[in-house]
Symmetry: C2
Subunit: 343 residues, 2 copies
């Protein structure tokens, strides 16, 4: 008896037999590799679709690529990441690449574990939004596989690409906007982290805020507060800010998410926005547009960031090893939460 096929699985070998060519030829067609005639290519493709062949990712990963990209976000609650992800998908639409997400819950340890898990699973490359790990760890990861960072400002000698908006400029736009609208006691509400680094977007925003305050002659009103990302923590800090003797008349929040909490606390305390307090966010997410929020924010084009990140990553996978850094110009979108004060 002839040796029977053991399993029902359609493999590269099944396709090869069906098309009457070698296994190597099928592999080449699969990878769009050089050195196969058009006739053979057509024949193989026909067999593939007739048999309903699906490549086995693990087997490919044993020798070559897995065509899987890892995408790491700090949390699922921030709608801004959804915009970025949409851009990534647009860029990869007509490719063989598939993106798989990981969520680190803003914890360095989970982030590192997820990256290890993605490396174990032979991801071809990594896109990380707002990494929490130290810069040296980032360099180590980037040495192991192609890496693009969004929301992380690279220092010279980086072995990875970055995609950002100009966070200092964004913060400056906010201060200039508020100052022009008649606010002077403008506070900055920053994210609280264990190890602040120069590379973080929040650090850049704080620098831009401080600079713009000085430039506007408001240097003596500079106030920076910090809060962890939990709702309870943020509300506590904000309540404290708003009940203090020198209460700010405007709060600039590092992200929309937090600004919504500020709006909530202000309302609970009976403060009107913007009458008693102006509020500005960052990222211009969908919630800003809701009438109950009407939140002024900085648009940094999440979709563009995602699209560029995916483009850069694919370039890197294809061999580029010189770092590239893409920067988008932020734009302020004014809404009712920061309307000009009555004189």
């Amino acid at each position: 008896m002839a040796p029977v096929k053991k399993s029902g699985r359609i493999t590269i070998r099944t396709v090869a037999e069906d098309a009457g060519v070698s296994v190597a030829a099928v592999s080449k067609v699969l990878r769009d590799a050089y050195g196969v005639s058009e006739a053979l290519r057509t024949k193989v493709r026909a067999s593939m679709s007739r048999l309903g062949y699906r490549p086995h990712a693990a087997a490919r990963g044993m020798r070559g690529q897995t065509y899987t990209l890892g995408f790491l976000i700090p949390d699922m609650r921030n709608p801004f990441f959804s915009d970025i992800f949409a851009g990534v998908n647009v860029a990869l639409e007509r490719t063989q690449y598939q993106t798989l997400l990981g969520v680190s819950e803003s914890a360095t340890s989970i982030e590192m574990a997820l990256i290890e898990a993605m490396i174990d699973r032979q991801m071809d490359g990594l896109i990380v939004i707002g990494p929490r790990m130290m810069s040296q760890d980032v360099m180590q990861v980037a040495a192991r596989l192609p890496t693009v960072l969004i929301g992380h400002h690279a220092t010279p000698g980086a072995n990875f690409d970055t995609v950002n908006n100009d966070d200092r400029l964004g913060a400056e736009l906010v201060v200039q906007h508020l100052a022009a609208a008649g606010y002077s006691h403008i506070a900055y509400l920053n994210q609280q982290v264990t190890d602040a680094e120069q590379t973080m977007v929040t650090t850049h925003r704080e620098i831009g805020y401080r600079q713009a305050m000085k430039d506007a002659g408001l240097g003596k009103h500079i106030q920076v507060f910090q809060a962890l990302q939990t709702s309870r923590e943020t509300q506590g800090v904000v309540r404290h800010m708003l009940q203090s003797r020198n209460r700010p008349d405007a709060i600039f929040c590092w992200t929309d998410f937090i600004a919504l909490e500020v709006l909530s606390v202000a309302r609970e305390l009976g403060l009107s926005v913007p009458g008693d307090l102006a509020v500005v966010g960052y990222d211009n997410t969908a919630y800003c547009d809701l009438a109950q929020n009407a939140l002024t924010s900085i648009d940094q084009s999440g979709q563009v960031l995602g699209l560029q990140a995916a483009r850069l990553l694919v370039e890197r996978i294809k061999g580029r090893d010189q770092a590239e850094h893409f920067v988008v110009t932020p734009r302020l979108v004014a809404r009712a939460s920061s309307s000009p004060r009555r004189p």
Copy 2:
């Protein structure tokens, strides 16, 4: 010359040599399999950690499990999914399993493509939230790999597990709550889909709504509206609802997300909530608690749903083939958006 190690990679073979045992023995330790002595196990583990061994997921996937679970969500904008995901992670914390996310953007075609991609990547099992595919497709997927569905009510003979809250009861709680608070023209704002199925949570909620309206003697005020999930679409439908001759005095929305849009439109039209209009959502997501929303909602314990789904999936992977269906009891959380009417 002795044959030299070709690459620097630490494999199961490196570990075996280091520990002075066979490759098969190392594999058994790795899989926590039966038939290895405690002494050998200890020795191998020591070598593993000394060498910093990391299992190669693709290679494992060639023969056995990949220890990777697929988790599919319709979109990244709905914060409820984040609660569910948190529960999944709690359940898998001390296991070898790693979850990777896919986002289908509420599109059937993307959902199917993602599932194919996950099968190609040899995921050990799948958790899908609110699947958009037809029930027959669900059955086909479940025939190929262990599957647990959240937010999908199984019909008899299902070859998959489900985890749900009692959506009919949830809707009934809403209607009873609103009726008791003095509202009578209670409308239901449902999700618009191309092929409505009995299995969908929104269908169950509609049934519960209709039943409760009849039971409360409000059968003649039953009104069901539908809108796609985009902000523009929803706002258009809501504006139309609120400007019609027989304007409802309360709107029950199938999810919080949409209820926030209703609050926005009401405010734009100069209607006060709950004075002119009561609004109730579903899922009790974090946004409900913000003072500017103060949205009454149904809590279905996302974290519990996620935890149970992960537990059921691991059981299935380990061999259970009889379907299990876990149901959680919903609970209404009243807030200002549905306060009792003045008599």
